[in-house]
Symmetry: C2
Subunit: 148 residues, 2 copies
DNA sequence: CGATATGGTCAATCTGCTTGACGATGAAGA
DNA sequence: TCTTCATCGTCAAGCAGATTGACCATATCG
């Protein structure tokens, strides 16, 4: 049926995220919300960021970003360090608990991907991967706002 | 790369929804939020629902559902009618503006899908559709919670 | 050196949602 | 039928995450 794919995309994405959320909770990471995932991803790739940068990436105000970091710091997922070159700023970096959580998410995603490959075949799933990649590239992948 | 697909899925879905949101706003439907879409979809398929049913489908309390319906009614997207068999209840149905919005979303989804087909080929996009469908079916498509 | 921009904080407020209690109506059993 | 319990919708209070606005300390640039 024409126009069916966006809905399927949403359902598949939601099903995957729901599973990841449940499994993370079982493994002791029950206190992470969707928005945290985007922060983790950004911090893991960049190595560190100021609260303002994080806010820009997440599409929220710096005040909201600071609040998010406060919460993540309280729970041991991130640490704040003095900025090496700017005495106003503080650098937020992933703490060991944060890295552990990121590692679990990657592992779960891989597991889900493998299960999916078993369902439809690795070659067909590769077509999915390439097609998604092509679309995202063409669409320019707008800055991720944590709407989920 | 292993485990890459879930992220791509999220980016693609987000890009599509972002485009739909922008285009709808341009066409005079700038006052619809993500959660409204799920309500519209449910109402269009079922033909009508009580506030409680809507709340269950959306994964929120009946109070939140009523609030949502209030807002949609004020904006002309839905109407409330007396329930034919239960004098406690009222049936929420799509009004003409609601049907118009649903129609535009379907048209936009189709357009996006066609553009995507032009990008990767209709046959490959068909593989995507079948693979997504297979995953969603296998995962049991958990009741849609409007987390996006 | 001085003007302006930027990182972070404090305070007030808004919005969408939750919990809790309630009246009105429906449904099922003695 | 009468009584009991469940359910639809409403009112009220409160919370969590976000926003706007003001501010200080520090950076940056002319």
């Amino acid at each position: 049926m024409a126009g069916e794919i966006p809905g399927l995309l949403g359902m598949a994405f939601h099903a995957i995220m729901e599973e990841v959320h449940v499994r993370l909770a079982e493994e002791g990471f029950g206190d992470v919300r969707p928005a945290h995932g985007f922060a983790f991803q950004y911090l893991s790739v960049r190595g560190g960021a100021t609260a303002v940068e994080l806010g820009q990436h997440l599409g929220v105000t710096k005040q909201a970003a600071v609040q998010l970091v406060d919460e993540l710091e309280r729970r041991g997922y991130v640490e704040r360090r003095p900025h090496p070159a700017d005495r106003r700023a503080r650098v937020v970096v992933l703490a060991s608990r944060g890295w552990a959580c990121v590692g679990r998410v990657v592992a779960l995603w891989t597991e889900i991907e493998n299960r999916w490959a078993g369902l439809v075949g690795a070659d067909r799933l590769e077509v999915v991967r390439e097609s998604l990649s092509a679309y995202v590239t063409a669409a320019g992948s707008p800055p991720i706002r944590p709407l989920w």
